[in-house]
């Protein structure tokens, strides 16, 4: 219903009788399959056979969220509990009501109760061997389902329900299996999402999924520890890769990792200062070497670095203890860098935009009015902006008003 990038035929296609007939048959088959699944579920037939029926339907239509839910119910009310010779399905279903899952799957915490009926009240077997026996089959079910999903995800990488269901499965592993085994599954996910991001380095779901997987691998529950260093390195790798400079997703992720990174390194003030210097060098070198300074992603990252100097909220991210003199010193240096960058890139509106913004910032930070030469510069840069970027002319009108507020006569 929401199609993207599908070309419209030049003339509307009239279907032949044969095609019509064929389509009716396919509709009938599809609806029969749907009916069959519903009937089986109404009879509470939570069996592998019905699971296979849902697989068949979901391969054709992965957007059918109700059938993914059917699949979840098949597993938690039926197959997971049947997978052990001595467990009772009713017990499992009591413990794993959907509402229960709401809490445990979204916020994986120690509060999530194990649903493996291993408590001695109902089962007299050795609890350890019981869990082990169960682990094998529950793991089989989860692994098989993860594998079933993979080709569908490669085919429909933007289907929300697929990512969603996959995470649910992995949370089930957290609840039902030994932590080492669950950890093994999550570790494989990191490899998998890495591959998907190679295929499409901007996939929104992919980046979100990566964050979730990493958070799990870092969690106490899975005996994890921080992965900030390796994730930071990953963003560096992506940025230096093909079209990396314009990979806003990677820059964004980097911006979120930095505060934690510095904290974990227990970076002192000189180290932080050096870090900021290095990040500026990275982004500016990137602007010079890649497609020159026209990639907006890089400019947004540059903006992020600048907020550590200019914006009280941003200060804390890299250099919380900078004196205002130090911030001003860095800002002045960046203004010089920007002016140099103009040489040969006179048609790059991003530079003019940045120059005006940070010239105004500087005067604010030094608690003074704009100087005459700064006013002249700003008014000239604004003229360039208007010429270069007519789409946003409304913004330049507002910017002019801002500058007027700074008493720039004639701008």
């Amino acid at each position: 219903m929401a199609s993207h990038g599908v070309a419209r035929p030049a003339i509307s296609v009239v279907r032949t009788d044969e095609q019509l007939h064929e389509e009716q048959q396919r509709i009938q088959e599809y609806r029969d399959l749907e009916e069959l699944i519903r009937a089986k579920i109404a009879e509470e037939q939570y069996t592998v056979e019905v699971l296979d029926l849902t697989s068949k339907l979901l391969k054709e239509n992965p957007e059918y969220y109700t059938i993914w839910n059917v699949r979840r119910r098949l597993l938690i009310y039926g197959l997971f509990s049947k997978s052990s010779d001595s467990s009772s399905p009713s017990k499992a279903s009591q413990n794993t009501s959907p509402t229960d899952t709401t809490q445990t799957s979204s916020i994986p915490s120690s509060a999530s109760t194990s649903t493996i009926p291993a408590d001695s009240n109902t089962i007299q077997h050795d609890p350890i061997s019981q869990t082990r026996g169960k682990t094998g089959t529950t793991l089989d079910l989860i692994s098989a389902d993860l594998e079933f999903l993979f080709p569908i995800m490669m085919k429909f990488p933007k289907c929300y329900w697929l990512w969603n269901y996959r995470l649910w499965l992995l949370h089930q592993a957290n609840e039902r299996l030994d932590w080492q085994i669950a950890r093994g599954l999550w570790t494989r996910e990191l490899v998998l999402v890495g591959k998907m991001l190679v295929k499409d380095s901007r996939n929104f779901h992919g980046w979100g999924y990566r964050r979730t997987v990493v958070a799990q691998l870092e969690s106490q529950k899975l005996h994890g520890s921080s992965m900030v260093e390796s994730e930071f390195e990953y963003t560096t790798k992506v940025i230096h890769g093909d079209k990396g400079l314009s990979n806003f997703s990677a820059w964004h992720r980097r911006s979120k990792l930095i505060p934690k990174l510095l904290e974990e390194r227990q970076a002192d003030d000189p180290t932080r200062r050096q870090f900021l210097d290095d990040e500026f060098d990275l982004i500016i070198a990137a602007m010079y070497t890649d497609s020159y300074p026209y990639a907006q992603s890089a400019w947004f990252y540059y903006q992020f670095l600048m907020t550590t100097l200019t914006d009280p909220v941003g200060h804390a991210t890299i250099t919380p203890n900078f004196t205002s003199e130090e911030r001003i010193e860095f800002l002045v240096r960046q203004l010089e860098v920007l002016k140099d960058m103009l040489d040969g890139a006179e048609d790059c509106k991003w530079i003019y935009d940045a120059l005006i913004e940070y010239t105004l910032c500087l005067s604010r930070m030094e608690e003074r009015q704009l100087q005459i030469d700064e006013k002249d510069d700003c008014s000239q840069w604004l003229t360039e902006l208007r010429k270069l970027d007519t789409l946003r002319s409304g913004r330049w009108v507002d910017l002019e008003l801002d500058l007027r507020g700074n008493n720039i006569p004639g701008v």
Binding site: S3, R8, Y65, T101, I107, F248, F300
Partner: protein, 338 residues
């Protein structure tokens, strides 16, 4: 070339054909959607039936044809999608989900039939309360955000749809609005935008959801208007259309998410409205109606409504005025919310 005063193609007066809004074909296209039962696609998209009805009905309202779908059938269909837990599924027999539940409320409000919900609604407390309780139970009381359904996936889109539905029912006090606002603030990024959850990349769709939620909560004051306005205005590309994130392709549906967001923060004039209007109009199928994601592509009702809503925000004279927060006709929102 200016859309309003342009000379048009050689030999014609007024606008070139491709830049004229074709009202009647769009109406016919939307009316035809439910009569396509002989197409497999119709059955494969059943999981969007209720959303589709909301999109189609909203489009018809904006086109000035609010009665183009049979009212009683519409109401009966919507009510037939309600589950015993009070939530609505996408179609009869489909599981309840917040997205379809919000669509159900929006449709019932548009056809002025909340009283029918009062009479026949299911769920705890029945009537309006039944569905409102379903929504309220999906709020995560620790963080303020919302899950989409009983299985627990959380996303700022759900936070928005939750507040949207509850506010239309005048039952916002069932949830912790302050906590929801705090959650949105924790999703803010350095570029001024918002993501799915804290730490997630800014995305125009999520930005719309977060701003609209803040707008419903009357807390747009927490937005970094300047930064966000800049980022959003950079979504416009040379072709005139808007993209959802930096360096992605333009697409009609972002005409809505970006332009409504800019409207909510008072910066719609930071993009070129006339170029955007032209881009959307070029995505029409002028003969058979409907709007596509990009010129020459297949149309669908999703891009049709968001294209029309975008045009409406830009002040297209042939369209009803749309409300930037609810994506419903402004007149109706004023009637319901006063």
């Amino acid at each position: 070339m200016s859309l309003v005063s342009g000379p048009g193609r050689a030999g014609t007066t007024g606008l070139p054909e491709e830049l004229r809004l074709v009202i009647e074909p769009h109406v016919k296209y939307i009316q035809s959607l439910d009569s396509r039962r002989d197409e497999l696609e119709y059955w494969l998209t059943e999981h969007l039936r209720l959303n589709g009805l909301y999109w189609g009905l909203t489009a018809l309202h904006l086109l000035g044809r609010p009665d183009a779908l049979p009212r009683q059938e519409t109401i009966d269909f919507v009510l037939s999608c309600q589950s015993d837990n009070g939530g609505f599924g996408a179609a009869p027999g489909h599981d309840a989900h917040l997205l379809s539940t919000c669509s159900a409320i929006q449709i019932l409000v548009m056809v002025n039939a909340i009283d029918e919900l009062e009479k026949k609604g299911k769920g705890e407390g029945g009537g309006k309360m039944g569905v409102a309780n379903y929504i309220a139970a999906l709020q995560n009381r620790d963080t303020g955000t919302f899950a989409g359904d009983e299985w627990g996936e959380e996303d700022t889109r759900f936070l928005y749809t939750g507040l949207n539905g509850l506010s239309l029912l005048h039952l916002m006090d069932l949830v912790d609005v302050d906590l929801a606002v705090q959650y949105i603030m924790s999703c803010a990024n350095f570029d001024g935008g918002y993501g799915v959850s804290p730490g997630a990349e800014s995305h125009s769709g999520q930005i719309f959801a977060c701003l609209a939620a803040l707008s419903i909560a009357k807390r747009l004051d927490v937005v970094n208007v300047d930064k966000l306005g800049r980022w959003l205005s950079e979504r416009q590309v040379e072709a005139g259309g808007l993209n959802g994130r930096p360096e992605k392709l333009e697409d009609v549906c972002y005409s809505w998410w970006v332009a409504s967001s800019l409207t909510m923060i008072g910066k719609l004039h930071w993009i070129d409205g006339s170029k955007l209007t032209q881009f959307i109009l070029k995505c029409q199928d002028p003969e058979n109606g409907g709007i596509a994601d990009r010129p020459g592509d297949m149309v669908d009702v999703f891009h049709t409504v968001f294209g029309l809503a975008g045009l409406s925000l830009l002040g297209h004279p042939d369209l009803e005025e749309v409300d930037a927060t609810y994506c419903m006709p402004k007149r109706i929102i004023e009637r319901v919310l006063g």
